[in-house]
Symmetry: D2
Subunit: 140 residues, 4 copies
């Protein structure tokens, strides 16, 4: 992945609406790898039971998915995401989602994505599948 | 589902942090059925490409999942969620997620959840699996 | 779906190796719909616990998936399959998998597939995603 | 995992009906890890297009899932399996599925399962979720 692509994705996430809404931050990016972090803020992210809403955890997963997908340099869109919830994070926890490319063909790519807290406790695991459109990234 | 349970879930969603953050609204609830709506607001929900972020769409799905799960009257938690994205919604679209119980055993329950816009265009489909803890709902 | 396509798929399944190995039979086929049946034979299909092996039940699901996919008239291949097991069938049960198209775009299609026994008891549910290659069916 | 459990699972697979039907062989087993192999035999495993049927590949995945699940020493049953197909194996290929435990709680466990050929080419990836019944293994 060349530097201009890397920079463009970092800058894109800084301006990205949902990333700003939930405080998601891209922290690492390499070809086939991405790490995104978010602090679990109960006041804006809780569910009915005072635990982290699945939608908040999933958004972090999806941000890692979206960014790792683009490291190939062309627009790649989500087809399918399968999430298994393992444990609820503690209030205020800094959560980190790491996405790794598992396979890549001309048209599709699959990823393994895991969310954990600073102590390495696993929160959720994900298997994700994307479609490569072949179009160039619009923000490059 | 008795009225007090129904009212408690409606009131819970009104106060629920992530539901407020994203403007999600519970609109229908019956035993084994739930419908939740949200307006897709690009300024707070977009992704890198100016389309609705998967995390925003998923949050709506998860809200329907969470609410339908509780219609059995005991705490039921998400185990696994499988989402297939079908089409991007248009800016400002009013999105509706409908969750229907497909199966229910003593310990687990599975649901079919679909997101569509007001014109009935399908945005995403989901198969979700939950675990019944057997504990009473804390907010009843 | 025209008659020659329909006949070709029926004839194809009659000769299909895995369908013969497990005794799977295509029983209904229409555009976007397929039904496949199989008798659960413990002597060839059981798992370690004397119940139907997940692989046998999944094969029936996948046969419905494979046949419904082709009703569009071009080669369509499986990308992702998500199965939730609901209940174990009884020995000797006649199992039926029904696949219905949920969405279809130029490149992908998604399906809902359910397996049940003759009494209508649900055995497994499935959400499946396929990729349309655009190539004509080779056996037409 | 003690030796008697390990031996019991190996012996169980040797007698297991579907494993015999498809020629699946348990080759490695440790706490939280299992490897199962199968030769892809077109004459009994092909689909409509002369490629390996998804049901055959899935059966191998499910055998790895089933065996890794029991290494905890109690009956553990499949709840959900999510499979992404990456590439078709070549005729006669020796396929190997490796299952690794990703997380484990009192009631559930999740696994990462991958199928590849002898050259290490990835055929399919899987995320699987199981429920621990708490019952002792019947064949011990």
């Amino acid at each position: 992945m060349d530097d201009s692509l890397r920079e463009a994705i970092f800058r894109g996430v800084e301006r990205e609406p949902l990333a700003r809404t939930l405080g998601m931050e891209l922290v690492e990016l390499a070809e086939g790898f991405s790490a995104v972090e978010m602090t679990y803020v109960p006041e804006t992210m809780d569910n009915l039971f005072g635990r982290a809403h699945g939608g908040a955890i999933f958004s972090l997963i999806d941000e890692a998915f979206e960014t790792v997908c683009q490291t190939c340099g062309g627009v790649t869109v989500a087809l399918n995401v399968n999430v298994t919830y393992v444990a609820s994070p503690e209030s205020g926890a800094r959560l980190r989602a790491e996405a790794r490319e598992i396979s890549s063909t001309k048209r599709t790519a699959s990823y393994d994505i895991r969310v954990s807290d600073r102590e390495g406790r696993l929160v959720a695991t994900c298997q994700a599948l994307a479609y490569r459109t072949g179009k160039p990234l619009p923000f490059l």
